[in-house]
Symmetry: C2
Subunit: 419 residues, 2 copies
């Protein structure tokens, strides 16, 4: 199956950032990006982009997809109460069927928001993987093992979900320092060394978490986890709100990923990440939505906007953070963070994970600067098409693989089973 | 023309906040809201709402509509440089034709975002009024008179635009204390007394502005303006970021409106309004987007979300601000602030300014709490229909009165005339 996109403006995220012209896909890959047509080949479908923008799909580099069950639930709690009073009791009741449907709802939301893959931390992995493959969604698991479960299955999961389906992969991970004993963290470190694999975890999300770690170990979570050898083959942390300068230098020097979750941190009262401090160096940054319970939307566009402007309140400087750098963090940055090295840019040979931005939306006009229009002003209404692995899964508001009525019906029916 | 909406869930914003059933309009008015059908009358069109939500249109209570020309322009400047280096030189070149087209672009964006009226502060009023009437958009002017212009025309404008068209009205206003001499402010006060009319102005947007006023007059802008008698017949202020407790008590006790502009303040590095301090009392609050140059989107949904969560960073409390209170501020609050006393709630006899929220969007599901879904998670993609004065102006992504291609073409063509 060969698809020709023509009359497009293409933000490649590669070195030649902007191309006016054509993009061709064949099966799961991009085969051509350039000003004219490739020579001597034909297409099965051609799409007139009408000067709309093509760019790499957004990568949601930290989420808990199946937590859509908890959207707008117990919004009045801060992180600790929210977890222990509202979320954990319901999660104890979650069946594989629940995870299947609530994950599908999240994937539908991702597609509507131009998100082509997510770095998903949850349980009943088999069911979210099944939902992803059915949907055609590209899913990367990050394990959430901790003292309450998952440590024993971690190695099996690593092997199972790295050979489950071409759309699914798995990275080592654990929930957080504050939920995982030193013994269990040392085991994670052993696996990291055995498989020469990166490891990801929640890190410095709240001030209390950092303070608790200091009391337990005398150092910050980032320093502790590094000392345990967990980061010896790379990896990174989610949230990073309360990083010290030393933590940032550690992450920079080891090439570890800092993944921002601005909406979740704001809502739960955890704080505002000083994104600008991560931008004035060669740090690796990516962006995620966190789960729907704490965000509550799953919009990467809203995250990118906030990562660009939130620092300004502290600095008083309207240019604290470069919007193009944030768009790269939300696309190619996320891809590399998740190990999707073929999904980072639009270029021949790369996977065809592509979003079309609708430049006919008033918020995308006039065209003083298209990248800034996207980062400062786009929302899901500006997403005209989402393609993953060469398949168009969302186009003009319609899904090609998701029966959204059935998803909504099941998700509402099951709420009563979680009380 | 009688329209029957049935199978709806209706957030009326009146005392009986939620109604499941029907809403009928006749010409420009709502004639019925209730569980069943009204007796013995027929309809010209009926719309199956399919359990989607109807609510009062959003009211953008502070904006500069025609500033769409400056979207994504000079995003790197803070307020002062942005005004003096980027905006004022271009505004000096703005013709009536520019204001006409750039206002139309803003109105199109409002309609796509469920906004049914705006409180607009700009110049070449005749052209923005003409664009509004052509569009069917409900426009309320707030004058921006200051030492650089507008004082001489203020009274004329008041009389002209309060009898221009049923869709257009005008409230007294001036730009700000820091751009308006005491003499000119006293003249505004005279007009307020002559017409027994409320007055609105920018107030305490930046820390520097408050400090400058203290140096010039020894008091805050709110206290000064009140002492000049300007607020004797009501009114209020835009931004209110740096209000003191005394300012808040003044506004509360006199029933003045505080209008929040979270996105603009964040972007320009002006600060974060402690919204929660305005919520724990009987203060009158409304919400606006400010202009596209400093926001950069014109989404009231994004504003409402931020007004609900931004305070949490300071308080550490996930429940700092009640989302229902914010939804009221963004709908009925704005209406009353702007003098649109017939546009505040959905009830028989009120104007038919109505929005339909698309509950089929994944971000609106599941339905743990519909109001919270809207405030925390909705974006323009969730706006299915916008009706103003009984006319459907936007439905399923299409405009009925705006030729969006022509608007976009003209807005881009004219950019080169403003360099």
């Amino acid at each position: 199956m060969r698809i020709r996109f023509y009359n497009a403006r293409i933000i490649t995220m590669a070195d030649n950032d902007f191309v006016e012209g054509e993009l061709w896909t064949e099966d799961d890959r991009i085969i051509y990006v350039g000003a004219g047509k490739p020579n001597d080949i034909s297409w099965d479908r051609q799409i007139d982009c009408k000067r709309n923008v093509l760019m790499p799909g957004l990568k949601n580099a930290h989420t808990h997809s199946a937590m859509t069950f908890s959207r707008s639930l117990a919004d009045e709690y801060s992180l600790n109460d929210w977890l222990f009073k509202a979320i954990f009791p319901r999660e104890a009741k979650l069946t594989p069927e629940h995870v299947y449907w609530y994950s599908k709802l999240a994937y539908a939301e991702y597609l509507a928001g131009g998100i082509t893959s997510c770095f998903d931390m949850y349980f009943h992995l088999n069911e979210s993987a099944r939902a992803a493959v059915e949907t055609g969604f590209r899913l990367v698991f990050c394990d959430s093992a901790n003292d309450f479960g998952g440590i024993d299955e971690l190695e099996d999961n690593y092997n199972t979900f790295n050979s489950f389906d071409p759309l699914v992969s798995f990275r080592l991970g654990f929930h957080a320092e504050y939920t995982t004993s030193e013994k269990n963290m040392k085991y994670v470190s052993e696996l990291a060394h055995k498989y020469e694999a990166p490891v990801f975890t929640h890190i410095s999300e709240t001030r209390d978490e950092v303070e608790g770690c200091r009391q337990r170990y005398g150092v910050t979570p980032a320093v502790l986890i590094d000392r345990l050898g967990i980061f010896d083959y790379g990896g990174g942390g989610f949230h990073c709100v309360w990083f010290t300068d030393e933590d940032r230098e550690l992450f920079r020097s080891k090439g570890l990923w800092s993944v921002f979750n601005a909406c979740s941190n704001l809502k739960l009262g955890s704080g505002i990440t000083p994104v600008y401090k991560f931008m004035n160096s060669d740090m690796k940054v990516a962006i995620g939505t966190d789960g729907a319970g704490s965000n509550n939307s799953l919009s990467m566009l809203r995250e990118m906007y906030l990562d660009t402007v939130l620092s300004n309140a502290e600095t008083g400087d309207a240019a604290s953070v470069d919007p193009l750098r944030i768009l790269k963090a939300g696309t190619s940055g996320g891809a590399l963070c998740m190990g999707l090295n073929d999904c980072d840019v639009l270029a021949a040979g790369k996977k065809a994970d592509i979003v079309m931005i609708d430049m006919k939306k008033p918020s995308m006009q006039p065209e003083n600067n298209i990248v800034r229009n996207i980062v400062y002003s786009a929302d899901n209404s500006c997403v005209k098409m989402t393609m993953i692995n060469g398949k168009i899964l969302y186009e003009n508001g319609e899904y090609t693989t998701v029966d959204i009525d059935e998803v909504i019906k099941n998700c509402n029916r099951m709420l009563s089973e979680l009380v």
